[in-house]
Structure formats: C-alpha cells, structure tokens
C-alpha cells in the first residue's frame, strides 16, 4: 500500500463524510460537515506539493526539502476557515436564539411559496 | 527594599521557574539567554499576577525536593503495580473503593499538590473535594483495606506537605 493511496483515500473519505453531513438538516451537523470538508481540502492543498517524509522546510545543511509553498497556503487556509467557522457558528447561534430552532432550511423562503399568495 | 522586591517579584518562585523553562526551551545555555529568561520571568509574572492576587506563604524548598523524590519513587513503583493489576487481575477480582481523606491542609496550593500526588501514585485518583474543602474524595483501584490506604496517604504525603507549605 502506498502513502499516496492512503492520503488520497483519506481526502476522499473526509470529503464524502463532510458532504454527507453538509446535507443534514440542522446547523450543527452541517458545520461539522464543513469542518470535515475543510480538512479534506487542506490535506488536498497540502498534497499539491506532493508527499515528502522527513524533510521539513527549515533550512539546515540538508539538501532535500519538502515543498514549502503549499504549507504556507494551507496555513493561510486554516486560519481563514477558522474565522469562517467562528462566524458561521455565531450566526447559526443567533438564528437559533431568535427562532428556537436550529434548522438550516430557511422558513422565509418556504413560506413565500405557500402562505402569501 | 522589601516593597521593591515584592513589587518586582510578586511570585519569585514562578519567576525562577519561568527563567528555567526559558533556558530549557532554548535547549542551550548562555548567560545572555538566562538573563533574558529572568527578564521574561519578571515581565510575565508581573503581567499575570493580577490573577494570582494572594501571596502564598513560604515553601520549604529542601523538604519539597525530598518530597518530590519520594513521589517519583512511588510513581515508578505504583506504575508497575497498576500495570500488573491491569494485565493479570480479572475485572471480577478487582475491589475498587471510595475513600475519604479528612484534610488538615488548608492552603489551596498544598491541597492541590496533595491531590496531584494522590493521583500520580499507587492505584488512587483524587476525584473530588467536599463543598467546604475539608475532605478529599479518592478512588482506589484495588484495595482490601480502605482505611489503611487513607492513613497511608495522610502519613506519607499530607504530613510532609504540612511541613513544606509554611
């Protein structure tokens, strides 16, 4: 079994699991799903520099280093998605507190199709 | 002079600890580094002292050291014992028990050290404090004699701690 296969399948499984949870009906599992998707994409972005064991990009006398650029990109992506997660948690919480219901579906759009004709 | 010292070192031991940790973090010793560590120790201690308002009583360092050695030894022995229990004793033969340690200690620091010691040593976990802090609830993994356990703890650790935290 190859490392590449492990990493690729991990990305696939994280994506599938994340996607499944994103399709749930409550905010909380959807946010969990988004987190899994974030992991998946971060690992994918990281893997775009290919996989290198034991060659961190800290300059020493070593001759071989892994690709540092995707690491920097993933770092940025992690930070950004942290901010995004915090925000969506807060907005979801606000919506829950206002309506006592943490459904992710939008009642406004639903009623505009039914009630007000 | 004392006031100046107190102002600069609200918790002198903490400052020392921080300086030591700084040196360990650097993984190399040099006078400049040590000085920088002390400076950091002072600054950080000052900055966080607001959350440690009481100035605890003195600590008998020598006794603390010997206490630490005892505990370390107990930890090693305890681990082997527990490992033995884990590997050999069937669940049915296990005799866990709650024991209660009435506390003579009153300083939070001392109680905490006692509770920590209990948890790190033979087959005991300190689980809770009574609602006014006069007793410590301890869970024993396996014992035939709960009262003996209790007296052992009080004698081996609490007695020593009373001498350390002045």
């Amino acid at each position: 079994m190859g490392l590449e296969l492990l990493v690729a399948s991990a990305i696939g499984i994280l994506t599938a699991a994340g996607m499944y949870l994103v399709l749930r009906l409550r905010t909380f599992p959807v946010i969990m799903g988004m987190s899994l998707l974030t992991y998946a994409v971060n690992v994918f972005l990281f893997a775009s520099g290919r996989l290198t064991v034991g060659a961190p990009p800290i300059l020493t006398e070593a001759t071989r280093y892994t690709d540092p650029l995707p690491q920097a990109l993933v770092l940025t992506a992690i930070v950004i998605s942290f901010g995004m997660t915090a925000v969506v948690v807060m907005i979801g919480l606000g919506a829950y507190l206002g309506g006592d219901d943490d459904r992710v579906n939008d009642p406004a759009a639903e009623t505009s199709g039914e009630e007000t004709s | 002079m004392t006031r100046a010292f107190r102002w600069l070192f609200p918790h002198p031991l903490l400052t020392v600890l921080l300086a030591v940790v700084w040196i360990l973090l650097q993984n190399e010793f040099s006078a400049g580094m040590a000085l920088f560590g002390v400076i950091l120790g002072i600054v950080i201690t000052k900055a966080t002292a607001i959350w440690w308002p009481e100035r605890p009583g003195g600590v008998h360092l020598g006794r603390l050291f010997s206490y630490a050695m005892i505990v370390l030894w107990d930890i090693i022995i305890a681990n082997i014992q527990v490992a033995w229990i884990v590997l050999t004793k069937p669940n049915a033969a296990l005799k866990p028990a709650w024991i209660i340690i009435p506390l003579d200690l009153t300083a939070p620091e001392a109680i905490t050290v006692l509770a920590g010691t209990i948890t790190l040593t033979p087959g005991t976990v300190s689980a809770d404090l009574s609602d006014e802090g006069h007793s410590l609830l301890v869970h024993v993994l396996h014992t035939e004699d709960p009262d003996g356990e209790r007296d052992g703890i009080k004698d081996r650790y609490e007695r020593r701690l009373k001498e350390i935290f002045l």
Binding site: M19, P29, F46, V79 | P108
Partner: protein, 960 residues
C-alpha cells in the same frame, strides 16, 4: 429647424408640465401646447424641402461601434406622420385642458403626453432602426403610463399592463427582426437598408426577420390576433384614446410597414401574411364594433378594423394599394380623432358612454351631433366625405387582389367589412343622437364650450374639405406615397376623384352602405344572436394566460427555491461533481511520473484512526458533544499527518486552531440542543450518501492522480527555498513565505480574522439589544449543572501554567522566523493561555481584573501590520518589502531584527484580539439574569475561613 430640435422639443418640454404642476392647469396646458406648437412649426419649416422631394437628414454618433447612431431623416412619409402627430397633438392638448377634471394631476398627464409625442416623432423621423426601436419602446412605456393614468381604476391598471405586455412582446420581436435586418444589410441605417431590397429578400434570414418585424407591427397596430389589447386601452382618459389609440401610436405599426415597404413587400410571404392579417382584422373589428355598447369600445374596434384595412392595402404590395393606404391613414386620422373627442364630450356631459342609455341627444347637443354625424358618415364611406374616397380606392384595390388563388375572397371580405363598418357608423349616429329625448341621462347634457368642440370641429372641416375637393389632398398624398415607394415602384398616375364612373368599386360601396342600413334595421335580433353565440373573450383569455404564466413561474421558482439548504447544497455538489467528471472524461490521462512511497504501520494506523473517527462522526453525529470529540481526533490525526509529512508549522497551527475551534463550538453548544433529531427519511439519507460518495470518489481520484504525477514545470517554491535566508532573513521557509514572499496573503488573512471577531461582536450586541435578550437572561440549562464552578485545583494549576503558556507563546513567536512557529501560532497559544484562566476562575472574574480592549488589540494588530508594510514606502520599496539586520547588545547574543517580525507582531495581536473578542462575545451571551460575579478566583478555599470568618462570598451558595 433642425430635426433634432423637432424630436427633442417634446422630450425637453416634458419636464415642464411636471415641474409646473403647482402653477395651475392653464399653465400646464399652455406650456404643453407651446412646446408642441414650436415643434410643429419647426417641422413645417422643413416643408419646402419635403415638397421639393428632398430628404432632410441629420445625425450624431451615439454608439458607432454598434451602428447605433441618432440619425434622423425627414422625407414625405416621415413628414406626413409627424404632421399628424404634432397637428392632432395640438388639438388633443387643447381638448384635454378642458376634459380633465380638477382632481386629475395635469402636470403628470401632460408630461406623459409629451414623452409620448416625442417618442412618436422620433419613430417617424428615425433614420437608424436601432434608434427607431428606442422610440418605439418609449411609446409603449408612455402609453403604459397614460393608460394607467387613473391609477385607482382597476381597468386602467389592467389595460395598461395588457397593452405593455402585448406591445412589449411585439417590441422585443421587433428588436430581433431589426437586428437581423441590419445584419443582413450591413447597417442599421434605414437609408442603407432601403437600398438593399435584393440582398434582404434573397437572404435566408428574410423570413425570420419579416415575421419578427411584422409581429412588432401587428401588435402595435392591433392586428389580428393581437387586436384585443386596444379596446382595453380605452380605460385611458379620452384624449389619450383619441391621440394614442386612434390617431398616432397604433399607426406606428402601419408606419413601420410603410417605411420598410420597399424592402420587405412584394414577396409572397409578405403578401399572404400582411394581406390576410389585414383582411381578418378589418372584418372582425367591424363586426365586433357593431355590437359594442360602450362608445369608446365601438370606436376602438372600428379603429382596429380600419387599421386592418390599411394593413391589407399595404399587404397587396402594389403602388396603388400603398397610395390608398396613405390616403386612408390621413382620412382615418381626421374622422376618428374627431369621433373620439366627440365620444369624450358625450361622456363628459352625460356621464355615460353606454349607447343603450343614450339616444335623442341631437336635441340637447346639436353641435356635437353635427360633428359626429359628419365624421361617422365619412367613416361609413358616404360620398362627399373623405372616408368615401379612400374606401373606394380600397375596394378598387381589393377587386384586383387574388389571395390563395381566389379572386373573390378579398373583394367579398372587403365588402363585408365595409358593410359592417357602415352599420356601426349608422348605429352610432342613430342610437346616440336620434330617437326621442330621454329623461334618465345620468347628467343633464348640453353642448360643451368651444374649447372642447372646437378641435373635433376643425377636424370635421378637414373631413368635408377633402371629401369635396380631393384634389387638394392629392399632391400631398402623392409626395408621401412617392417617398414610401422609394425606387421600387412609381407613384400611380390615377387622380383622386369623387366620381370614377360606374366601376366595380362603386357597386361594392353601394352594396356596403345598403347592407349597413339593413343590418342596422335588424340590429335587435342580430344582437340577440351575437349575445347568445359563444365567443372567446380576449381579455379573459389574456388575463388567464398571464395568471397561468405567473402561477407557473411561481410554481417553478418557489418549488425550486424552497429554502432547503440541503437541497441547494446537493444540487451544487452534483453539478460540480458532474461537470468535473465531464472535464475528466473528455481529457487524456498520462502515465504516472512519480513512484508511490510505501506506507508503514504508523501511516496505516493513523489512516485507520482518521477514517474511524470520520466515519464515527457520520454515524454518531446526532450526539453533538461526541461529534465534537470525534472531530478533535480527526484534527489530531491530521496534525500528526502534517508532522509525518514534514510540516511542523502546519501541525502546530492545525492543533491550536482545532482547540480554539472546539472551545468556540462548546461555547455555542451550550445554547444549542445537545442532540440532533432524526428528521430525514431513509431514502433521503441514501440519496445524500450517494451524492456524498460521488463527491468523495471525485476528490479521491483527483488527489491520487496528482500525487503520482509531477507538475509541468518546477515549482516556484524552489526560488523560495533558495532565497528565504538570503532575501528574507529566515530559515523557516514557510514562515518567510508567510511574512515576506506572500506577506500580502497574510495581511488579508489577519483581516479576515479581525472581521470575524468584529462580526461576532456586532452580532452579539445586536442580539443583546433585541428580543433575544430577555430569553437569554431567563434561559434555563437543559441539564442540571454540577456544583463547583471554579475548582480549586484548576485555579491553582492555572496560576503556574498560564504564565508558562505565555512564555511558550513568546518563544514560539520569537523563533518563528527560523524554526517552526510564528505570530499566528503564538497568538493562538497566548489566547489559549487566557482561556485557561477563564475556565479556571470564570470569565467575569478574570476580565474584571484585566480587561483588554480587544477591539483595540485587533485594530492595533492590523494597523501595525499595515503600517509595517507602508514603512517600506519611505525607502522607495513596495508595500511589505522586508528588511533585516543582525545586532548584538551585550550581554545578549547576536539576534536578528527584521521588519517581518514587526509584521508578525501585527499578526500576533490581530489573532489574540480576534480570538478573545469572540470568546468575550460568547461569554456575554451566556450571562443569565441571576448571575452575579464571583468575588474569589475559586469557589472552595478552606484557607479563607482562617483570615475571613464572616465570608460574604460563602462558597456554599451556588451561582455566586
């Protein structure tokens, strides 16, 4: 006067009445009249040139790249129509001044009217068909406003919308047709297009163009089957009906057919479509008109019928037909405008337009009676009135026209049309004015003032004049006809005469008039039969169609956008996966260029745990706390993976972010239900699983593909590795990329964090100001809480640990440029240190002692980072250019001073501020009403008893 001015005057003038509304009705009407008169005179100044057969042109570029330029031209045809528009306009304005009541907003009315007038003049003077389209649609819009002028009347609103819809649809078709036409001819200028008859008629696009253009013309001119909107437009005030819906706007379609006659006519398609549409419209309109009881409706359908007549004449494609059409346009405009105004007078005086409630008015309104009689008889085709002349020419033309291989079809239908035309004219006269005087009129009628009857009377004078002395009109009509025909045909030599001898047209005419009288005599039984006969009501059908369209669209849109995020997301996922698969399936797959590295037990075990936790999360996600624990493991394993694959910075970032995220989620979960209920069906879950697995397979395939192949060229990061130390002063290349090579990304990133915190703060404030506040204050925990809010051991440990964490944070920051670490991780670590303190002694106790203005920390962070970047401007370098140096201050070792560190400090501060502000916000939400701040850092402290026996903050009291 320049043609520009003629067109522009009404538009410019349109502002005046609206603005002068407060100056009084007289002023409004006066200024409108003046503007129109000025344009009219301006037009007349061009009369000599037109009479000389010249084409007056002018132009200015508007959108030359498209060929859309404001090119205007004035020839006979344009002059003729412009004359009608402005001339009748003057009469209508006069009439409207007296017609409108005091409640009506006259400024608004005249503004719309002038807008319309300008648009109409624009249509007939346009040399550019795109500009013509602009004016064309403007007439639809202004007509919409005028029909809906009486906003409180539902008929007005519906009529306006119907007119706009139908003519708007035609206008859109016309756009298509015109664009095709222009593309065939290679120019949108009429002067060019009119020269391109052969090219156009030979083009395969001729037929689509023709159909689209005719759609525009037919809808505008109310030709069958688009005739139905016109009667409903009669909800407009009568001056509007008279002006737009009889004299001018409806003639726009006719005008365009006439305008394009040289290039479009003469083909079988043109002939069949136009002639038959005209014929049907003529007959149908006449028949319906007969049975209308509303005066204006009767006149409206008669208009429809006469427009059909004109259309039919244009459709025959002969020069004589065209001349007859022009002549009839002139005549129709005169008698029909007169009739409309008269109908308005009747309505105005009797307060009804229902013929059944009228009769005998000749005694009370003799002047009106005279006007109506002359105009109606002209319309009926009675000799010595102008209607007779053009109708004779029509019958003559019909006599020669062979449609669908039949030489009797057109003549017969023409006679039938004329017959019904005569009948409704006679009915109009007799049922309204003749017969005994009644005593049940809604109001007491009498002739109005001159202001109202003067304009129709003037028109009737024309009716009679032309009718008696046709030679007066003949030269003018011929000039117009000549310009209509262009180079395609010569103007017929026939002279306009009252008496042509005993030609077939005369017999047909006589038959029509006699037949008309007979029909009138048989009106009662005919009406009974008509009322009994089932017939589609166009308005009902139209409304139903529109309602159906609206309902259908509602069904589609609301069905599609039902607010279900899960569906939206599923659609997006399926779309993305499918399109990605399509891209994959249509590409080529090359051989792998990299050798797969073998995985050891550690990797396999790590993978197993990651997968177990992930799948566990899916299957156990309803337990929310457990799912948080599981996601913690996923994060942990990903971090370990980063360590394994040589990314210590990433591992540290991942794990710290992970913990802070979990803390935030725990804070939120405190308010949320602890379990997710089972809501979706098994089938749905299966569907979701299929979507999810497809997405997972796609990302797997893509990842695996790339992992085994090299990039097309060496990565740019080789440069980063080579120059990180030399140019960036750091050996941690990732950190140098973050703060130097790609520092701009990081600048954006900390702003994202800062915004996140501001947003969270703002939302918290908003929630606490709103209705949620009371609920939050009285919130009950969903489960019993344990005692001991601030456990002693935790507090004691924190006192030692928190400073240590701070130290570690500083260390991570300090080393970040050369070793794993950096401002971001350090910021998170310091935040976590503070969080430890919060968890130990509570938020309030902690922040009461030291409350950092976290807003300020964020702001300072961003500002420091930004100003560090700007600093490089002062040495003439771009934003964020870094510099570094090594200094030595005894007794310290040599150390590096880098601007990048300053930038990193900004990052650090922004992170700390953002995390802390967010936590603070959550904590504020969690405050309940009965909570008071704890005085002591720990709840239980036996040592307190010793020095403070009467402790007010007795720790036994919970909730303190």
């Amino acid at each position: 006067m320049s043609l520009f001015l003629v067109v522009a005057l009404p538009f410019l003038g349109a502002l005046l009445p609206g603005l002068m509304n407060n100056a009084g009705r007289q002023a409004c009407a006066g200024v409108t009249f003046t503007v129109t008169l000025a344009a009219f005179i301006g037009l007349l100044t061009n009369l000599p040139a037109v009479l000389a057969g010249e084409v007056v042109t002018t132009g200015v570029n508007w959108l030359p790249s498209l060929g859309m330029n404001v090119n205007l031209m004035l020839d006979g045809l344009g002059f003729f129509f412009a004359l009608l528009i402005l001339g009748i306009g003057l009469l209508i304005i006069t009439y409207a001044r007296f017609y409108l009541s005091r409640d009506d907003n006259m400024g608004e009315f005249f503004t719309y009217l002038l807008l319309f007038q300008g648009a109409m003049v624009g249509i007939v003077l346009s040399d550019n068909i795109l500009v013509l389209l602009v004016f064309w649609e403007l007439t639809s819009l202004s007509s919409f406003l005028l029909i809906g002028y009486w906003k409180h009347l539902p008929e007005g609103r519906q009529g306006a919308r119907m007119a706009l819809t139908v003519t708007g649809m035609g206008g859109l078709a016309l756009i298509g047709g015109m664009l095709i036409l222009g593309n065939i001819a290679g120019s949108y200028d009429l002067s060019v297009i009119l020269q391109s008859r052969e090219v156009i008629q030979a083009s395969p696009l001729y037929l689509p163009a023709l159909i689209l253009i005719l759609l525009g013309c037919f809808t505008k001119s109310a030709q069958f089957p688009f005739h139905f909107w016109l009667p409903h437009a009669m909800a407009a005030p009568t001056p509007v009906s008279a002006y737009l819906h009889s004299a001018t706007m409806v003639k726009a379609g006719i005008f365009l057919m006439a305008r394009l006659w040289p290039v479009l006519s003469g083909t079988p398609e043109w002939f069949v479509i136009v002639t038959s549409a005209g014929l049907i419209t003529m007959v149908l309109g006449a028949v319906i008109a007969l049975f209308k009881h509303d005066l204006k409706a009767l006149l409206a359908f008669s208009t429809v019928s006469h427009l059909g007549l004109i259309t039919m004449l244009l459709g025959t494609g002969t020069a004589f037909g065209a001349m007859a059409a022009i002549f009839h346009i002139l005549n129709h405009a005169t008698f029909k405008a007169a009739l409309f105004m008269s109908a308005g007078i009747v309505d105005h005086e009797t307060h009804t337009r229902d013929i059944r409630r009228l009769g005998g008015l000749r005694h009370l309104m003799p002047i009106t009676f005279g006007i109506v009689t002359l105009a109606a008889l002209s319309m009926a085709g009675i000799p010595l009135l102008n209607g007779f002349l053009s109708k004779e020419m029509m019958l003559e033309e019909a006599h020669h026209t062979v449609l669908f291989g039949s030489d009797w079809l057109v003549p017969t239908l023409a006679v039938v049309g004329s017959l019904f035309s005569a009948a409704y004219c006679f009915r109009l006269i007799s049922h309204t004015f003749l017969g005994p005087k009644r005593d049940d009129y809604p109001a007491h009628p009498h002739d109005p003032g001159f202001g109202m009857w003067g304009p129709p009377a003037l028109l009737v004078v024309l009716v009679v004049m032309i009718g008696c002395a046709p030679f007066l009109a003949e030269p003018f009509v011929k000039i117009v006809t000549a310009s209509l025909l262009g180079d395609v045909a010569a103007v017929p030599t026939a002279h306009f005469k009252i008496w042509h001898g005993l030609v077939p047209a005369l017999y047909m005419s006589i038959a029509a008039v006699i037949g008309g009288l007979i029909v009138l005599a048989l009106f009662k039984p005919l009406l009974k039969a008509w009322d009994a006969a089932p017939r589609p009501e166009a308005k009902v059908i139209f409304e139903a169609l529109i309602e159906a369209a609206a309902a259908l669209s509602r069904g589609l849109i609301h069905g599609l956008h039902n607010g279900a995020f899960s569906r939206y997301a599923a659609i997006a996922a399926v779309t993305i996966t499918a399109i990605g698969y399509h891209a994959w399936a249509t590409g080529t797959v090359g051989a792998a260029t990299r050798v797969s590295q073998s995985a050891g037990p550690v990797e396999i075990a790590g993978w197993t745990m990651l997968v177990t936790a992930t799948l566990g999360l899916v299957f156990l996600h309803r337990n929310r706390l457990l799912s948080l624990i599981l996601i913690g493991i996923v994060g942990l394993m990903v971090s370990v993976g980063f360590v394994l694959f040589s990314a210590p910075d990433l591992a540290m970032t991942q794990i710290t972010v992970e913990v802070v995220t979990i803390i935030l989620l725990l804070l939120a979960l405190n308010f949320l239900p602890n379990r997710t209920p089972v809501e979706s069906t098994v089938l749905r879950r299966m569907r979701d699983a299929v979507v999810a697995i497809a997405a997972g397979l796609a990302t797997f395939a893509m990842s695996y593909h790339f992992l085994l192949r090299d990039a097309v060229a060496p990565s740019i990061s080789e440069f980063h590795l080579a120059n990180s130390y030399k140019g960036g002063g750091g050996t941690n290349v990732v950190n140098v990329i973050l703060v130097d090579f790609r520092g701009f990304d990081t600048f954006g990133e900390i702003i994202v964090l800062g915004i996140a915190a501001l947003l969270i703060y703002a939302l918290t404030e908003t929630l606490l100001d709103g209705p949620v506040r009371a609920r939050l204050l009285n919130r009950k925990p969903d489960q019993p809480r344990a005692g001991d809010m601030h456990p002693m051991m935790m507090v004691v440990l924190t006192r030692v640990l928190m400073p240590l964490v701070m130290l570690v944070g500083f260390y991570i920051f300090w080393r970040g440029h050369n070793e794993p670490g950096g401002g971001f991780i350090a910021g998170l670590i310091v935040s976590i240190g503070v969080v430890m303190q919060y968890m130990a002694s509570g938020f309030n106790w902690t922040s009461a002692r030291l409350r950092y203005p976290y807003h300020g920390v964020i702001g300072a962070g961003v500002l420091i980072a930004g100003l560090t970047g700007i600093g490089s401007w002062f040495v003439g370098k771009p934003f964020l250019t870094s510099d570094f140096t090594y200094v030595r201050i005894p007794p310290f070792e040599k150390f590096e001073l880098a601007t990048a560190a300053l930038f990193d400090l900004g990052v650090f501060l922004a992170v700390v501020g953002a995390v802390m502000l967010s936590l603070e916000s959550f904590s504020r939400l969690a405050r309940r009403s009965h909570m008071t701040e704890n005085e002591h850092p720990m709840d239980i402290d036996p040592s307190r008893e010793e020095y403070d026996p009467a402790d007010p903050g007795n720790p036994k009291r919970e909730g303190v």
